[in-house]
């Protein structure tokens, strides 16, 4: 901690005052910087429309009809701009007007989709949960779109095609997967300002994950569902403005207190209700826990700073260079507040 800060703290603690830096404006600026929204990003929309047009124009005439929906982080309003080395992705769900019984081998339908989309400037690869279309420019990957292929069973429950070409026939299955229900559940979990803060907090955590962990085995939807389970909105008791720093710190405390044995279990609140962190090894889980503790401690350290500049320096180390650090405040400088219109009277 800087010597100036220590003097500052000493000065006020003698008076019994313990100022705290919440850096709310910086959290909001950070959020604006990392936000990647389907609604506001024309490029994302163009890519989706182009892909769907391709599919419509080229899909086998004998294939069943289908509808589409956006799934994943854009649908959940938790999308973040990728780091420079990561290509942006998008998740689209295709629900075919047929039942799993029409395609006992789920790979058949995925192959139909692949065939419709293959072009020279892209690769189309069937992976077990989806069909991935990777776009190339000058031989370099620009972005990719994951297409999840669904049918509907007799109960109108969406069934996901889980299969790849190397799978044995009996492993090419349809699995209950309620992606649309998940979107609705998460959207409806909070309202108004609570919901806005929830989305900011999830985006901040996802960016932190991208920087500190990478994507391996800690899926972003895992963090989103963890927040769905344990997030509580936090506000300043005086002016009612959101306090994202407190909300993230308290969420981390909840996450850490819910660690069972050597790992964290976060189950999808819809079918197939799988544990989203199940693929983590014990070592990875332990690493995640340590990093989450580190983040929690940094947030507490930032909160204890009497100066927002110092607090933001601490936060930048965790959230990366997109987290703004304001100039150091000069308390000896004369500052004029200006004039405001007031709606108050007596």
């Amino acid at each position: 901690m800087a010597a100036g800060s220590l003097q500052y703290i000493e000065r006020y603690s003698q008076k019994g005052i313990f100022p705290m830096a919440h850096a709310q404006s910086q959290f909001e600026s950070f959020h604006d910087e990392i936000l990647l929204s389907f609604d506001t990003n024309a490029k994302l929309r163009e890519r989706r429309e182009a892909l769907l047009k391709d599919l419509k124009d080229n899909i086998d005439e004998d294939a069943h009809g289908y509808s589409h929906f956006i799934q994943g982080s854009y649908a959940l309003h938790t999308g973040v701009t990728p780091l420079p080395d990561n290509d942006p992705d998008m998740d689209v769900g295709l629900i075919f007007d047929c039942s799993p019984e029409d395609y006992p081998d789920s790979l058949t339908l995925k192959k139909i989709v692949r065939k419709a989309l293959e072009r020279p400037n892209r690769t189309v690869k069937i992976r077990r949960p989806c069909v991935t279309v990777t776009y190339l420019k000058d031989g370099k990957v620009t972005h990719h779109i994951d297409l999840a292929i669904y049918t509907l069973n007799a109960d109108s429950q969406t069934q996901l095609a889980k299969s790849r070409e190397t799978d044995a026939v009996e492993d090419r299955i349809w699995e209950a997967s309620e992606a649309r229900e998940l979107i609705k559940k998460i959207a409806d979990r909070f309202e108004g300002d609570d919901r806005k803060q929830f989305r900011r907090v999830v985006r901040a955590l996802k960016r932190w994950r991208d920087i500190k962990l990478g994507h391996a085995n800690a899926p972003s939807v895992g963090l989103t569902v963890a927040a769905y389970n344990w997030f509580s909105a936090r506000y300043d008791n005086v002016d009612g403005r959101p306090r994202d720093l407190l909300a993230i710190r308290d969420l981390l405390n909840e996450l850490l207190s819910n660690w069972s044995w050597s790992r964290l279990e976060v189950h999808l609140p819809v079918a197939p209700n799988t544990d989203l962190f199940e693929k983590m090894t014990e070592a990875q889980a332990s690493d995640l826990k340590q990093r989450l503790k580190g983040l929690r401690d940094s947030l507490s350290e930032a909160l204890d700073q009497p100066d927002t500049h110092e607090a933001c320096k601490v936060l930048k180390k965790q959230f990366g260079n997109d987290f703004p650090v304001p100039p150091k405040s000069d308390t000896t400088k004369e500052v004029f507040a200006g004039v405001s219109l007031t709606g108050r009277s007596a």
Partner: protein, 477 residues
Amino acid sequence: MKTPPFWGWPHISDSGSICVNDKEGLDYDPDDFEGVLGWLVCEAAKLLHENQLLSEDKRLQAFSDELEGYLKCCGAKPVRCDALLANSQQLYAEVRTHKERARYVSTVLRVNTGSTSTSSTQQEKLGFLDVSIQQLPRLRTNLDPEWRDEFLSRLDSSQYDVALSTEYRGLVLRTANSYGAALVLVYWGRKQKKDEWQAHTYYLQRQDRDYVIQRTGGSTYDRHVVIAGLGAIGSRVAEHLALAGVKKLTLVDHDKFSADNLGRHLLGMDAIGEHKITELEKHLKNRIPGLNISAQKAHINKFLRKGFPQGTDAIVLTTGNSPTERAIIRRAYQEDWPTLIVSASVEAWGLGGHAIAMRPGSPGCLECLYYDPDFQNPVAQMRTSLIAPGQSVTRQLTGCGAFTPYSSIDANRTAMLAVERVLDNLSGYSRWAGKIEQARQAGIQPSATYRSLAEARIPLTLEPPDYIQPECICCSN
């Protein structure tokens, strides 16, 4: 056969009626005659039995609590009494005399300590005696020489002298009871021959400040409160403080009351064109007897020119002018005024109101709300404002004279917050948040503070540690 008159039994009137309960606090099926009658008989029997078990002295003492009620049942008339009675004061009866069937009949209208308030009356001196319930023979509406003899025989020598003094036309008898005392007036009027002596009994209907406040379940506050700004909020603060039993109020304002104020001010049409403070002084004096009230026709800055008004326990700022109030508060902190200061304001369109109480010398003041807590920089708008920044809320109806739209209820709710702060005599910040509809119709955006308050995410009441700003220009040093 006529029942002999009863005297000295609690809850039993002279005619023998038994009161098992007053009208308040009872609930029953209005069609259940049998059940109610059964209950009534049981309760009456129980009450008689309980009274019978008491010693005579204890029974009389319990009866003294109801002496005034007993007299009412007898048919005794009430007499107004708005003065606090004491042995040292000379009492007078305000008496009106009229002719009735060739006889002059005198009626006492009021007991006072020297000044009359009724017309066409004359002042007649009264004696004042503290007597025990045991010294009182059975009272009834009209008293005769036999009663007088019996009464005089029960008095000690000093009481006897007062009772027989020729300068008095009656006696106020004060009988101690568990509520304080019962007050009875025995008035005989003109001098009479001993064997023709006749008197009438009155019960005193007390209207003094202590009694009126006691009836509210509260107690009086021996405090002096200055209220600056007697608009819609300030006038109500004044009234509520007076009704709550605050001993002294100083009202400071220089505005005249206009018809534009009618929609939300305490005063009415009679006050149009008059200074608010003079009309309020009249109103409050009429409202609470014995209130010590001072009206200062001046702007608050002029009133405070000479510094802290000595002897003031609290200053309520309800001027509607934030810069003025902030300047006064800064000065109070600089000069370390030994008083509680409360600043109260209402927000437009029913969004809510604020009352913040502070004490110079202690951190946590109105100015703290004008700081960005993250950067400790002053900000132009109070950070807890209920309206989002940059919106004009004033309106005009006549082409000139902009006003802030808020209702009488809004003013009253805000005034209550200020009053509670004064009576609690504690620093702190209270606010309320109303409904959004009016503001929405007016196209006004509420602030984050309003949304958080309206959705009960943050508390309505805060203690100073919640909002102290270490760099506050006013309270940090």
